[in-house]
């Protein structure tokens, strides 16, 4: 498999050597990757005496501080522009899907734990284990197949030409397109939240303070709401943050199946196009999001559990 991104990106036999060289200069590919390394794929050892400030790596980092993520080989546009417009589509998909998955997962988990060892419990347990076992892309395919026979769009974010319609029709069209991808996302991630909430709540409900709450004459609903839920949610908060990384995996599959113009699809396309600036930018974005998510999770955790603040 040829590895030079310049050649992979511009496979036009009519280009002269001079033009290719000019393109390499434009993308900064004429510089060594780092001291002693000229190229990573294939690995080529180069001179170690180059000025470290004049390497691809250092220039990338320097530009990063200026908010410049480089230029996409494929689109020939700034990476931040390409990823920026796709990021919002992904946030929309993840946001709605994640909230639905958490809400439904927590409710199912609470029900299962409360009615432990009943038909409800086993039903919720088996449903979430099955949901967890389904390959994301396959569920998507089946839904696209089913949806295409039932009037759902087969992919994309908007019906072509919708922009000339009134605003509310456009929003309706967006929701219509969002429905099946979100449903896929929700089903896949719901199972894990249900399982965790169930097992966390089973522990909480066996605690002494639940017996105290019961002895105080509180109703079952009050006990669940005021004494069990907050404590039982603690592991979920951690999982949500950790899951963000896994979310990307799900998003790549969902966006590929539903042709949703988001970040996951962009990353996947960038792999086959050897569009490294997009890949770097994408991974950077994911890393930053994961760090932010963990930070928010820590804050939420200390809000939910007062013991964390003083310890």
């Amino acid at each position: 498999m040829p590895g030079d991104p310049a050649r992979q990106g511009i496979r036009d036999p009519r280009l002269t050597k001079e033009t290719i060289e000019a393109i390499r200069v434009r993308f900064g590919l004429d510089k060594p990757v780092f001291n002693c390394i000229d190229s990573l794929n294939p690995v080529r050892i180069g001179s170690c005496t180059v000025n470290p400030l004049d390497t691809q790596f250092f220039i990338y980092v320097k530009n990063l501080f200026k908010g410049d993520l480089g230029v996409s080989y494929y689109y020939n546009r700034p990476v931040s522009d390409v990823l920026g417009e796709r990021l919002w589509n992904t946030i929309l998909l993840i946001g709605v899907g994640q909230i639905l998955a958490i809400v439904i997962g927590v409710i199912l988990g609470v029900l299962a734990a409360w009615k432990a060892r009943s038909a409800i419990d086993y039903g919720a347990l088996l449903t979430s284990l099955l949901a967890w076992s389904l390959p994301v892309f396959w569920l998507g395919i089946i839904l696209v197949f089913w949806g295409s026979n039932h009037g759902f769009p087969i992919g994309g974010k908007a019906t072509p030409g919708i922009s000339s319609y009134p605003f509310f029709t456009q929003v309706g069209d967006l929701v219509w397109h969002l429905l099946l991808p979100t449903f896929t996302y929700t089903v896949i991630f719901m199972g894990e939240y249900t399982l965790l909430m169930r097992s966390s709540l089973l522990d909480v409900l066996a605690e002494d303070y639940i017996l105290t709450a019961k002895a105080k004459g509180l109703s079952t609903f009050q006990i669940l709401k005021d004494h069990a839920l907050k404590n039982g949610m603690l592991p979920i908060v951690t999982l949500i943050a950790i899951n963000l990384g896994y979310t990307v995996a799900g998003v790549i599959q969902i966006e590929s199946v539903f042709s949703w113009p988001g970040l996951g699809g962009a990353l996947f396309e960038a792999v086959s196009r050897r569009d490294f600036p997009i890949l770097q930018g994408g991974f950077l974005l994911i890393a930053v999001s994961v760090i932010i998510a963990n930070f928010i999770a820590d804050l939420t955790y200390s809000y939910l559990d007062p013991r964390v603040q003083t310890e």
């Binding site: 396959w138 089946i142 197949f145 303070y209 002895a215 990384g245 995996a249 086959s272």
Partner: protein, 651 residues
């Protein structure tokens, strides 16, 4: 002893745990279902070349009429975009999925297991470094990285196995590390170290066997993740082009127009295969975990068993007259012939409380005395109908405020709890909710039972209650962990007082507190009783406290009443040998030279009760009749004093 005999011993000893394990395992329906699902698919994969009707790669000599043919007798599952038989591809696809899953998981488990054991065992800087690395790897989204790396290398099956394996070890490392940490400080490991065993020896012989069960459960999860990852890679077109896999079949079908051709058969089957394997693994793993790490069958919100009345007439004396000290006080709580059973899921009945009667008058303090496991707490929980799901009131009545508590429904019970009878649990650290302020938890009870309180007065009431037990109002909005042990217990008392109950049950309220705090708490309870006219049932081991504070005493042994009388009678004229023995084991300041004697043996197990008197096996005065016939309660001293012992028969 030679090495051979030692080995023999080990193998003999290990057969029994395995058959135990197998018995529990075969009863777990989830685990068995998962195992059957896996066995099916493994069989199909192994015999793929025999079972498959066609060569999965042969598409020579096809015409356009062979493409996307629906299921028929020639092609049970139809044909795909190149006219190949889908059933055959499906069978060979199972091989790829399973091979990638098992081998990749093997790599992951080896890496993760090694990192986990080394980090957990060696600790210190090694652990710090390894676990930071693991945390870093955990938050890195592995699939996108796998996609990139596979795309940049040769997509052979071996490469895919190695790459998936190398990125899938983080959960294993974390689980193995925490298990190693737990095992490391066990006695036999410390002993092995003390006799000079090397680290490698300790890890292999002592730590690994105990980490293994968890590792197996985790490995099953890792296998299923690896299978999902492989199928995703193949679906994205990054699989080994020479190996027919389920993901690849879906990729071809999806990309090459199965959707528009309406060829559902090309889309459904490969996905069913993946889901089948992964669901089978998940069920097996969950079931296995339940077997290895069994949880409680129920919790505090599980529905309880309804009370029943046994038809058998209980032929026993009960106290007929009021205690001497409380002659004029009205009767508040009248417990008659109460029995409580615990019934396990395989219907083994444990008679935790049998035929106990108790009277509580206004302002009276009854001491409930007995060793641990004598049914004291069960009796108290039964009074408030707070028994766990396995507990059942098997006979008797609890009359309170003109009603029989044993027959109340859930609504009536909720109204009665705390406003009628409240309870101070032992160990207030766990009895208070750690994530809510103490003031909030007191307020909640008042709002529930006294809705008339306006919010402003409510705050004042909480402050007043805290003040009553000697807690400054500054602590009102603090959390339980910010309180000291004694303060928590006092907060619990304030909470128990919050709804003006008639009866307070204090279930060993001072265990786990130091002596000074114990004295404070007890004094406080006694004060409040005098000030507020409360009736208290005081559960304790401490006969000194009983002598000092109580009006009457109920001595329980093995779930039955041993003796019940006024406190003076108990201390001066105890008739039951158990009471007498208990008194011998408790120091008396007036007779400092007295030798303290503890009672040898332990109270009976409730599911293996002796046939005759429950105390007979430990009783110094037992004679033949005691081991054969259970004594009934006998009335002594015209109704004040009862005892269940053959020796006191006839007064």
């Amino acid at each position: 002893m030679g090495p051979q005999t030692a080995e023999l011993k080990v193998s003999v000893a290990s057969t029994s745990p395995f058959s135990d394990f197998w018995q529990t395992f075969s009863r777990n329906r989830m685990a068995v279902a998962g195992l059957v699902m896996l066995a099916t698919i493994i069989t199909l994969a192994v015999f793929a070349s025999v079972l498959a009707p066609y060569d999965p790669k042969s598409s020579v000599g096809i015409t356009s009429s062979d493409i996307y043919n629906p299921p028929s007798s020639a092609h049970w599952l139809g044909t795909d975009d190149a006219g190949r038989d889908i059933l055959s591809s499906f069978l060979f696809g199972a091989r790829v999925s399973l091979i990638v899953g098992f081998f990749a998981a093997f790599i992951s488990v080896i890496i993760g297991g090694t990192i986990g054991v080394v980090a957990g065992f060696y600790g210190g800087r090694t652990e710090n470094l390894l676990m930071r690395f693991t945390d870093l790897m955990l938050v890195i989204p592995d699939l996108p990285l796998i996609v990139v790396i596979v795309a940049l290398t040769k997509p052979s099956l071996i490469n895919i196995i190695i790459i998936i394996g190398v990125f899938g070890w983080t959960t294993t490392a974390r689980i193995v590390r925490s298990q190693t940490l737990a095992v490391k400080s066990r006695k036999f490991v410390l002993r092995a170290r003390a006799i000079g065993a090397g680290n490698v020896h300790i890890i292999m012989k002592h730590i690994l066997p105990l980490v293994m069960p968890l590792l197996v459960v985790n490995a099953i999860l890792v296998i299923s993740l690896a299978i999902l990852n492989e199928s995703t890679l193949s679906f994205l077109g990054l699989g080994d082009p020479t190996a027919t896999s389920w993901g690849q079949m879906l990729n071809f079908a999806f990309v090459r127009g199965a959707m528009s051709a309406g060829a559902w058969w090309a889309l459904v089957m490969p996905g069913v295969g993946i889901a089948w394997v992964v669901f089978g693994l998940t069920l097996f793993g969950q079931g296995l975990e339940q077997v290895l790490n069994p949880r409680l069958e129920s919790h505090h919100l599980s529905p309880g068993r309804p009370s029943v009345q046994s038809d058998a007439v209980v032929e026993s004396a009960t106290v007929k007259k009021k205690s001497k000290k409380r002659k004029d006080a009205p009767l508040l709580l009248d417990v008659r012939n109460l029995s409580v059973n615990y019934i396990s899921h395989d219907n083994v009945v444990a008679k935790a409380v049998h035929n106990v009667s108790l009277q509580l008058h206004e302002g009276e303090l009854v001491g409930l005395v007995g060793e641990s496991g004598c049914g004291k707490t069960t009796l108290m929980l039964a009074l408030m109908r707070l028994l766990p799901a396995t507990g059942q009131i098997a006979n008797g009545h609890i009359n309170f405020r003109g009603k029989d508590i044993t027959t109340l429904n859930e609504d009536e019970l909720q109204k009665l709890r705390w406003s009628g009878i409240s309870i101070i649990f032992q160990g207030a650290m766990n009895a208070l909710n750690p994530v809510r302020t103490v003031g909030d938890q007191i307020k909640e009870a008042i709002i529930r039972h006294m809705p008339a309180y306006a919010p402003g007065i409510l705050e004042d009431r909480v402050i007043e209650l805290l003040d009553l037990v000697g807690i400054s109002k500054d602590y009102k909005d603090q959390y339980p962990h910010q309180y000291s042990g004694g303060m928590r217990q006092r907060a619990m008392i304030a909470m128990a007082l919050s709804c003006d109950p008639d009866v307070i049950i204090a279930d060993e309220p001072t265990t786990a507190l130091d002596v000074m705090i114990q004295a404070q708490i007890l004094e406080l309870l006694d004060d409040l009783r005098k000030k507020l006219g409360l009736a208290i049932i005081f559960v304790t081991h401490d006969l000194g406290v009983v002598a000092e504070m109580c009006d009457s005493v109920l001595v329980m042994y093995g779930g039955v009443t041993a003796e019940y009388a006024d406190v003076d009678t108990i201390y001066n004229a105890a008739r039951h040998p158990y009471t007498q023995e208990l008194l011998k084991s408790f120091p008396d300041l007036s007779q400092p030279e007295k030798r303290l004697i503890s009672i040898p043996g332990y109270p009976p197990k409730l599911d293996e009760l002796p046939e005759g008197c429950r105390f007979a096996p430990r009783c110094p005065l037992a004679f033949e009749r005691c081991t054969k016939e259970m004594p009934i309660l006998h009335e002594l001293e015209d109704g004040y004093h009862i005892a269940s012992c053959h020796l006191v028969e006839g007064g």
